[in-house]
Symmetry: C2
Subunit: 396 residues, 2 copies
């Protein structure tokens, strides 16, 4: 029995496909430090857990396809705090950021169309594009420039008749890059000039270090018809298991069409929306210590990597990932070896192979992504195990 071409072509998640090796290691009694996945260890806010506990409807019924009104109201308040004035009907609640990305891609691009994405990029964009029959045209960014946006000429060189959108992730996964206001505005101008949409994945909006500030694509004047933001509660509130996100745009026709996609799958989960609503009031009191904690983790991880001879990486400005280039041929082999063959005092480390974060064949093979999502003690231990593992691997 033949499967569809997209089923054959879709990549296994590089973040998750090596999990069987981790499971086997655990079965042998080895503790695995999971730096492969952006699963924070930060406790989910008690307000959110309490919201699950206080659900008291008799019938757990369908909600509106666009999300619960009360939650969309809450999101309007959330964005207003970030100086992004919105109305309720400019927001559709989705099943996490994943569905928001899928909807955004499908509403702007047909099978056979192209979307330009600076690479390296969040690996699952590949999966969503394959499912939708869309081609990602990678726009190479490099560590030497801090993975910042290339000049307009490089972007324009990729624009063709099938190009429908440019998609960015800001702050960036896996790069940790925060785009400057100038570059966001420049990208907006370029999109307007070429009649393209800009899809901006801003799920790490709050995770910005050293006092840098975030510019949303929704803050570019005159870009109302072009700008689409995808968002999620997963990282913001350490609520990856809630699967609540949203898609935001001021383009009325686009939102009307997106609602039709949303209607087909009926609605996002009800209780998880109420739980997400409980987090809306969380502001600086919650985020300031959280960001300080992540900044300390970033420093720890970065400093530890810098002490290992041959490692190349950029100090991230945001999100909670470091993309590191190793002096090896194939990082995936190294990661598997760490899980299958290596441990110190029954501890080992798992990273995510870099290749999956690129669309250009061959790139990223000697890179890996580490997520600094553990507390400082655990992370220090993990980085020490990583360093000693790499030392041993090099000497094989």
């Amino acid at each position: 029995m033949k499967l569809s071409q997209r089923a054959l072509e879709i990549q296994a998640s590089p973040i998750r496909k090596l999990m069987p090796h981790a499971v086997a290691a655990k079965q042998r009694g080895t503790k695995v430090f999971h730096l492969n996945i952006g699963q924070p260890d930060i406790p989910t806010p008690h307000q959110m857990i309490e919201a699950y506990h206080s659900f008291s409807e008799k019938v757990l019924a369908y909600g509106p396809s666009q999300g619960l009104d009360v939650y969309r109201d809450g999101l309007v308040q959330y964005y207003a705090r970030h100086n992004i004035p919105l109305q309720e009907n400019q927001i559709i609640v989705t099943q996490a950021g994943s569905e928001a990305v899928t909807f955004a891609m499908m509403v702007v691009a047909e099978a056979g169309d192209e979307i330009i994405v600076p690479e390296p990029f969040y690996t699952n964009y590949n999966g969503f594009a394959t499912m939708a029959g869309i081609t990602i045209r990678p726009l190479l960014t490099v560590a030497e420039d801090g993975f910042q946006l290339p000049p307009n000429e490089a972007i324009e060189a990729l624009i063709g008749p099938k190009t429908k959108a440019i998609m960015i992730c800001n702050p960036g996964n896996p790069t940790g890059t925060v785009y400057t206001k100038e570059d966001i505005f420049r990208l907006g101008e370029l999109a307007k000039r070429h009649g393209l949409y800009v899809i901006s994945d801003e799920v790490y909006r709050e995770f910005i270090y050293e006092g840098l500030s975030h510019t949303s694509m929704l803050q570019v004047p005159g870009l109302e018809e072009h700008a689409i933001v995808v968002d999620s509660v997963s990282k913001r509130y350490s609520a990856c298991g809630a699967r609540i996100g949203c898609i935001v745009s001021r383009n009325k026709e686009l939102m009307a069409a997106t609602l039709k996609f949303a209607q087909a799958r009926l609605c996002p989960p009800t209780v998880d929306q109420l739980a997400s609503l409980a987090c809306v009031p969380l502001a600086d009191d919650f985020f300031k210590p959280l960001i300080a904690e992540y900044q300390a983790r970033r420093d720890l991880a970065y400093d530890a990597l810098m002490k290992i001879p041959g490692m190349v990486c950029v100090k991230p400005q945001g999100a909670f990932y470091i993309l590191v280039k190793l002096p090896v041929d194939d990082c995936e082999k190294f990661i598997i070896w760490m899980l299958d063959e290596f441990n110190i005092d029954n501890e080992t480390v798992m990273g995510a192979p870099g290749e999956g974060f690129y669309a250009t064949p061959g790139l990223g093979k000697n890179e890996m992504r580490l997520a600094y999502v553990l507390n400082e003690d655990e992370l220090a231990r993990a980085m020490s195990v990583f360093a000693r593992g790499f030392e041993a691997y090099k000497n094989l």
Copy 2:
């Protein structure tokens, strides 16, 4: 700014698109009996609500892409009770039946491919197909035959080089038809002979009346490579807002490819899976009175319709819908009129226009679907309002 062709083509949900008329009616103080949507009034089992209340993890973390092991274990037990022996790795938990249908369509068919579906069919299959670029080839079934499967010749006449699967809904939405064991086996043989997949939507498995029994596509011998079941907790446990379903197949390659789709969106919601797990032990004690209740509602709705001159419908054998043919040109107009213009003692009724349940242009325009999801008192009242509304409409 242009939208994609699929964004322009995807139909607004006929079940949901008239909601603004219902909202307006409610704002005028009119009570609307919602027979348009399969939202049961049955209380969600207390076990499920309690599971939300007892979630006690510190971090609401990502789960496995294939679903929580403990829940997949539970599903194995659930299917075993229905004489469907399965292993855990033959089940992937999805974001409700909707995602299961999307995955099933995408894993078997490429953009441009075709899937044969007996019509009338669950309207949102259209939306999922449009998003995936797949063409639904409708296989007409008619009230005169109780909407049962046509003979093989009629099915085979639709099979071409692009046909990848036949998709059924059993018991049927919107028809209420329960396919016979003979027909399920016949369809299985036909699929084998032509090398096609059979996707079987069995979300109404328990909702079968008058002692009829259900035959799952997973029970056809020798169909292991062909059979795919999509399922959901929504109707079964009156938990439409939980958004938990699953896709089931014994075809290893197909499940491996489906897992890659599942990995792209990371995981289904965690707490909702635990809540669904709490329902797994529910067996005859729970379902027998529930089915008796629905059978009584069916009888009430059917008898009420039969008393209205000119109504044509088949007594449903399962699910909780009646598709009724009205002596009017355009049922959608009638439904809108009922919401906009009509009420008795400030009460009116909303149905779902039949046209959206057909892929063949022009069919279903004089039909509507009623969901008998209200208790007998409410339903009796609703049917009386419906009858008097129709009487008034006819005499306009």
